[in-house]
Amino acid sequence: MKRHALRHAMLWLVAGLLLAVWAFPVLWGLLTSFKSERDVLAYPPVWLFEPTLANYREVLFGASSILPNLWSSMVVSCSATLLTMLFAVPAAYALARLNYPAKRASGFYVLATQMLPPMGLIIPYYLVLQKIGGLDTYSGLTALYLSFSLPFAIWLMVSYFEDIPYEMEEAALLDRAGRLRTLWYVILPQVRGGIAVTTIFVFLNAWNEFLFAVVLGGNKVRPVTVAMFNFISVEQTQWARLAAGAMLAMAPVILIGLAAQRHIVKGLTVGAVKGGGRR
């Protein structure tokens, strides 16, 4: 009995440590964002300090405000997400449910495009957009975001379409409902949850993207991931402002992530599970 209790205590200790290691940097950042610059650099670190909102005020309304950057991120992420879903959902339905020639090949093509390293895409995009004056524009960056979000969304949606029983659409088709009507009125309502989860993931990936944003962005289109470097330079790091900026930039994804945590694993494993040829 005593050994049992000891074992449990040990397990709890390890689990607590685990949670601390994962959550601590974020919590520490949250704490830092309310400190004054003087308190940040205090040694030993001060736990009791006078919390200040000055950092947030400066980051939002000061000279290097990240509000325009949050707006940039929002525009690019939303337009990329909307376009992605518009194209991905019908394609996924065809891949999951319909018979047509070269079905395997088209599925494999989508999967292969998901494997492409971003560095291979950014160079040609940069050269072309530079020539046609597309650098620092929303449409240029959005087009590039489609290159990774579209294959991802297609494969995630395929897994949701495959979960619907075949009988549903067969019944609808026997009733001589057209294929499009069947898809719209019978199938799509079944995958509402899947569409929601996919939308969330596409948005998260677009919001967090950095490489494409830093190369193709400029003064006008400058997503918030790039703007984090406003607070850090070779000479000086503005610790508390960086922390406040990071908290604001990451607040949407943290909130969405926590709300959708049940579906996170499924979303992250897409492609490998299905594309690996399970059947």
Binding site: L18, W22, W28, L144, P151, F210, I264
Partner: protein
Amino acid sequence: MAHTLTAAPARDAGPVTLARQEQRFALALLAPALVLLLLTTTIPLVYLAWNSLHRIDLGMPWLSGFAGLDNYVKMGNDPRFWSSLWLTVVYTCSTVALQVVVGLSLALLVLQIPRGQGLLRIGAILPIVLAPVVVGLFWRTLVLAPDVGLVDLVTRSLGLGSYNWLGDPQLALISVIAIHTWQWTPFAFLVMLATLSTLPSDVYEAARLDRARPWQRFVYITLPLIRPAIVMVVIMRTMTALSAFAAIFAATGGGPGSATEILNLYAYRTSFSELNIGYGASLAMVLMGITLAISWLMFRLRRSR
């Protein structure tokens, strides 16, 4: 292909027209997405391959022009290329191995905790949803900065002294490996936890009746059962590690010197810092070749099981 040849059960419209109607519908749904993918991925890649055969120097544009295979020949004698290739291997192998081993051990451990798993799962989500660039900056400042970072606070209070975690070449490599492992181990952990909790309990009951020791149960029952999940994690994490960029860029920028410059960062620095885009394109081609070869190999491996 085979599906279309086997006729659907005869309906009044006739199997041939029904099949054709289905094909036409599939094409209409699929074509827009495929065209878009062609435009946003495949054509740019062809253009990348074409550019890798050119000298494109944005700093000295008058020198630009067709160069044949010069860029690839140059790579052979470029020690920085070979070092970046080696660093890519070290970085990828170590981070993937660490994620699988740590993630699996933690999942096995947490599985034995009767309550509170939900809290741990939420904690595990945190690193995954953060932007890698923010993670890199967090570590560079709050965690690894000399004197004031969390790690230095611990080593100093333990009397081990202070270290320049990102300034010393060897420590910097270990640091970026640690950052990547910190961010993505929760992924392996969550997948393993989900897989382990679906394993059938009767097998274990039988093993216990046969007096199999815990490690025997693990090696002969658990491991074979979760092998598909492990393979899946390895494939996905390898792809992520090969294209890792933002966290290293934010933490070290590839430095000090080129101590943490994996191939991905070398291609970036060559193209966009040194503005030697032609050579950068050929480096990106090599990276792409490696990525596609590995993914092909891994899917073959997976299918043959």
